[in-house]
C-alpha cells in the first residue's frame, strides 16, 4: 500500500473517531450549558422574589387563608409557588431538580429550584419552575448543527490533508519512480537531484545517489577489467597466430613442421574461444548485458534453424520444427537467447550421428512455455548428466568428448533470464534439452 494512501486512511479514521466522540458528547455538553444558564436565571429570580418579600411582606402577594401563592404565566412556561411548610424546623438546603409538573391537567417538564425561607416564624418553601421542553428542542438543534459543522470541517480537512500529503510526498515518489524503478542498470542511473526542501528526502536522495555511484564505479571497473583481460590475452594469441600463419606460407618447411604449425593455430583458436566464452560468462554474471528486449521465441528458433541449414547438411541431419507456439519473452536479451539455443543445437549436431535427426518443439502450457530440443545422438551417461553445465567438467571416460563451455554458457544465460533447464538422455538414443520460460500470470 502506498504511503500516501496509508496517510489518507489514517487521517480519515482518526477524524472519524473525533466526530464520533464529539457526536456522543455533544448532547451532554449542550445540556450542561443550557442547565447552567437556566439555573443562573432561577437563582436570580429566587433572590428577587425573596427581596420583594423582605420589602413588602408575604401578605401582599399571598392569599389570606393559607398564605400560599401561585403564579403561572400564560404558556405555563414559568411558575412561582410559595407555600408554608408545616412541621419543619430547619431551613432545607436549596435544590434544583427536573420534574414533570402538572399544570391545569397538562404535564410539562420543568426545571425547578426549591428554596426554603423563614418569614414570620414560619418556614416557607419557594419553588420557581421554568419549562424545559422548548429548551430540549433547542438542545437537539444545537447538537445537530454542531455535529454537521464538525463533519463538514473534517471532510474539508481530509481533502486538504490528502493534498498536502501528496505535495509533501512528491519527492519521495519521484525518488522511487525515477531513481529506483526507473534504473535498469547502474550505467544509466539518473543522478540529477530530486527537488525537495524536506531534509529527510534530501538525505535519502543523496544516499541512493552515492550508493548507485559506488555500484556504477564497481560495475565500470569490472567492465574495464573484463575488457583488459580480453586485450591482454587475445593480443599475444593474435601475435602467435599471425606468426604461425606466415611460417605456414613458407613452402620450404617440412610437412611435419607444417602439421605442427597448423595444429598450433588450432590450439590458439581454441584458447581464444575459451577466453571469449569465459569472459562472456563473467559478463553475464556481472550483469553487463541489458535485458531490455522483447523476443519472439518462435521467430528466434526459425532464424537459428535457417542459420544452421548448411551446418546440418554436412552431416545430413534433418531438423524438424513441427509444433511451434507463439511466445514472447519480455525484458530479455536477444543476442544471449540466440547464443543459448544455438549452443544447444550446436551440441545436438556435434554429438549426432550421420543422417540423424533433431526435433525442436515449442509448447505453451498453463504456466510455462517449453522449448524442447531432441537429438538422435550418442547421449550422455547418467552419472554425467548433472555435470554437463559445469564449467570445464572433466568426464571419467577419456573417450567421451569434453563439452567445453558451450553448455556452461547455456546455463549462465538461462539463469540470467530466470529460465529452467532440464536434460534427459539415453545412451545411443539421444538427448533432450528442455528450456522452460515461466509465464507471468498477468502478462
Amino acid at each position: 500500500m502506498k504511503l500516501q494512501l496509508k496517510l489518507a486512511i489514517y487521517n480519515a479514521l482518526s477524524k472519524a473517531l473525533v466526530v464520533l466522540a464529539f457526536g456522543a458528547l455533544m448532547p451532554f455538553i449542550v445540556e450542561k450549558v443550557v442547565y447552567n444558564h437556566i439555573d443562573q436565571r432561577l437563582k436570580a429570580r429566587t433572590s428577587k422574589v425573596l427581596r420583594i418579600i423582605e420589602k413588602g411582606g408575604l401578605n401582599d402577594i399571598a392569599r389570606e387563608s393559607d398564605c400560599t401563592f401561585e403564579s403561572y404565566n400564560i404558556l405555563k412556561e414559568e411558575f412561582i409557588l410559595i407555600e408554608p411548610l408545616s412541621g419543619m424546623k430547619d431551613v432545607k438546603p436549596t435544590v434544583i431538580t427536573n420534574e414533570e409538573w402538572e399544570i391545569d391537567g397538562e404535564k410539562l417538564n420543568h426545571r425547578i429550584i426549591r428554596q426554603s425561607f423563614i418569614y414570620d416564624n414560619q418556614i416557607y418553601s419557594l419553588q420557581i419552575g421554568e419549562g424545559i421542553d422548548s429548551l430540549n428542542k433547542l438542545k437537539n438543534t444545537i447538537s445537530k448543527v454542531a455535529l454537521w459543522a464538525t463533519i463538514l470541517t473534517i471532510i474539508v480537512s481530509i481533502f486538504v490533508d490528502v493534498g498536502y500529503a501528496r505535495l509533501l510526498l512528491r519527492p519521495l515518489n519521484e525518488i522511487v519512480e525515477r531513481k529506483l524503478k526507473g534504473t535498469k542498470d547502474p550505467v544509466h542511473f539518473n543522478d540529477v537531484p530530486v527537488e525537495t526542501s524536506t531534509l529527510e528526502f534530501q538525505q535519502l536522495d543523496i544516499s541512493i545517489t552515492e550508493l548507485m555511484q559506488r555500484i556504477k564505479a564497481a560495475f565500470m571497473t569490472e567492465k574495464e577489467f573484463i575488457s583488459n583481460v580480453s586485450h591482454e590475452l587475445q593480443t599475444p594469441i593474435s601475435i602467435l597466430k599471425t606468426r604461425f600463419e606466415n611460417m605456414l606460407m613458407d613452402e620450404k618447411i617440412d610437412d611435419d613442421v607444417a602439421d605442427k604449425l597448423d595444429d598450433s593455430i588450432r590450439k590458439l583458436n581454441r584458447m581464444s574461444k575459451i577466453i571469449k566464452s569465459l569472459l562472456m560468462i563473467s559478463k553475464i554474471d556481472n550483469e553487463q548485458f541489458l535485458k531490455n528486449e522483447t523476443v519472439n521465441i518462435k521467430a528466434l528458433l526459425q532464424e537459428i534453424a535457417e542459420d544452421f541449414q548448411e551446418h546440418l547438411s554436412t552431416k545430413n541431419i534433418r531438423l524438424y520444427m513441427q509444433h511451434l507456439d507463439e511466445f514472447e519473452i519480455q525484458n530479455a536479451n536477444r543476442t544471449l537467447l540466440y547464443t543459448l539455443f544455438s549452443n544447444i543445437i550446436t551440441n545436438a549436431i556435434k554429438y549426432n550421428v550421420e543422417n540423424g535427426q533433431i526435433d525442436i518443439s515449442a509448447t505453451k502450457q498453463s504456466n510455462v512455455f517449453v522449448v524442447a530440443i531432441r537429438d538422435t545422438g550418442v547421449g550422455i551417461a547418467k552419472e554425467n548428466l548433472t555435470h554437463i553445465f559445469d564449467r570445464f567438467k572433466k568426464f571419467n571416460k577419456s573417450t567421451e568428448p569434453s563439452f567445453g563451455l558451450g553448455l556452461a554458457i547455456v546455463k549462465t544465460i538461462s539463469d540470467f533470464h530466470r529460465l529452467n533447464l532440464h536434460v534427459e538422455s539415453e545412451a545411443n538414443k539421444g538427448t533432450t534439452f528442455r528450456v522452460e520460460f515461466p509465464i507471468e500470470p498477468f502478462t
Partner: protein, 225 residues
C-alpha cells in the same frame, strides 16, 4: 596499393607487414596514434588497419579525426577488446569493416578485397579460375558458358581459395572464413572436407581439376594451370 598499419604491438604489426607485403601491398607502420595521423597527412593510403587500444590515444579518436579531415582511406578496425559496442561504434564512425583479434591474415586480406570491390562498385569483376569464370557480384560460376550451380558455402569457399591462389589455406582458416566465430574448429574442420568434396565433384564434372590441390593434410590450394 598503400596500407598503413596502426598497431602498437610490434610483433603483430611486423607479421601483418610480412603477410601483406607478400600479397603485393606496400605497408607503412605506425605504433602510436599521433604518428598515424601524421603519416595520414603526408601520405595517401588505400587502407588503414587501425588498432583500438593504442598507447597514446583511442583508435576511435583517430578514426574521428581522419573522417573530419576527409581522409578517404578505407578503415578496418582491429580490436582485442570484448565489447560488441566497439564494433557498432567503429562502424558508426565510418569504419569499413571490423575484425576481432585474433584474426587470420588471409581473412584480413579477404576483407580488404571485399572493401575494394564495394568501393569500386558497379564494375563487374570476373575472376578466371583456370577456365571457371566467377562473377562475385552476381554470385555465379560458369565454365565455357555452362553454369556450375554451387551452394552459398561452396561458392564462398572457392572464392576464398581463388583470392589466395597459389597459397595454402588450412582447414581452420577456411572454417573461420566460412563459419565465422560460430563453430568450434575442433570438430568442424572436417566439415570443410565435405564441402570441398562436393565442390570438387561439381567442378570435375566440367573439366579436370588437378589444380585444386590438397596440401599436406593441412588444407587446400588452387594452383595456376
Amino acid at each position: 596499393m598503400n596500407v598503413l598499419i596502426v598497431e602498437d604491438e610490434r610483433s603483430l604489426s611486423h607479421e601483418m607487414e610480412i603477410y601483406l607485403t607478400k600479397q603485393g601491398l606496400h605497408c607503412d607502420v605506425a605504433f602510436t596514434g599521433a604518428k598515424a595521423l601524421e603519416m595520414m597527412w603526408v601520405n595517401s593510403y588505400d587502407f588503414v588497419l587501425l588498432d583500438i587500444g593504442l598507447p597514446d590515444t583511442n583508435g576511435f579518436e583517430i578514426l574521428k579525426e581522419a573522417k573530419k579531415n576527409a581522409i578517404d582511406s578505407a578503415f578496418i578496425v582491429l580490436t582485442a577488446r570484448s565489447e560488441t559496442d566497439d564494433k557498432i561504434l567503429g562502424l558508426d564512425l565510418g569504419a569499413d569493416d571490423y575484425l576481432a583479434k585474433p584474426f587470420s591474415l588471409p581473412e584480413l586480406h579477404a576483407r580488404m578485397q571485399a572493401i575494394l570491390r564495394r568501393k569500386h562498385g558497379l564494375k563487374v569483376q570476373i575472376i578466371d579460375i583456370n577456365g571457371f569464370m566467377m562473377d562475385y557480384q552476381n554470385r555465379t560460376l560458369t565454365f565455357e558458358d555452362a553454369p556450375v550451380v554451387l551452394t552459398k558455402k561452396e561458392f564462398d569457399l572457392l572464392h576464398y581459395l581463388a583470392l589466395h591462389k597459389g597459397r595454402v589455406l588450412s582447414r581452420s582458416q577456411l572454417t573461420e572464413h566460412i563459419w565465422g566465430d560460430v563453430m568450434d574448429d575442433d570438430y568442424d574442420s572436417n566439415y570443410i572436407d565435405v564441402h570441398v568434396k562436393n565442390l570438387r565433384k561439381k567442378l570435375a564434372a566440367h573439366a579436370p581439376i588437378e589444380w585444386f590441390e590438397t596440401v599436406r593434410g593441412i588444407g587446400y590450394r588452387l594452383n595456376a594451370q
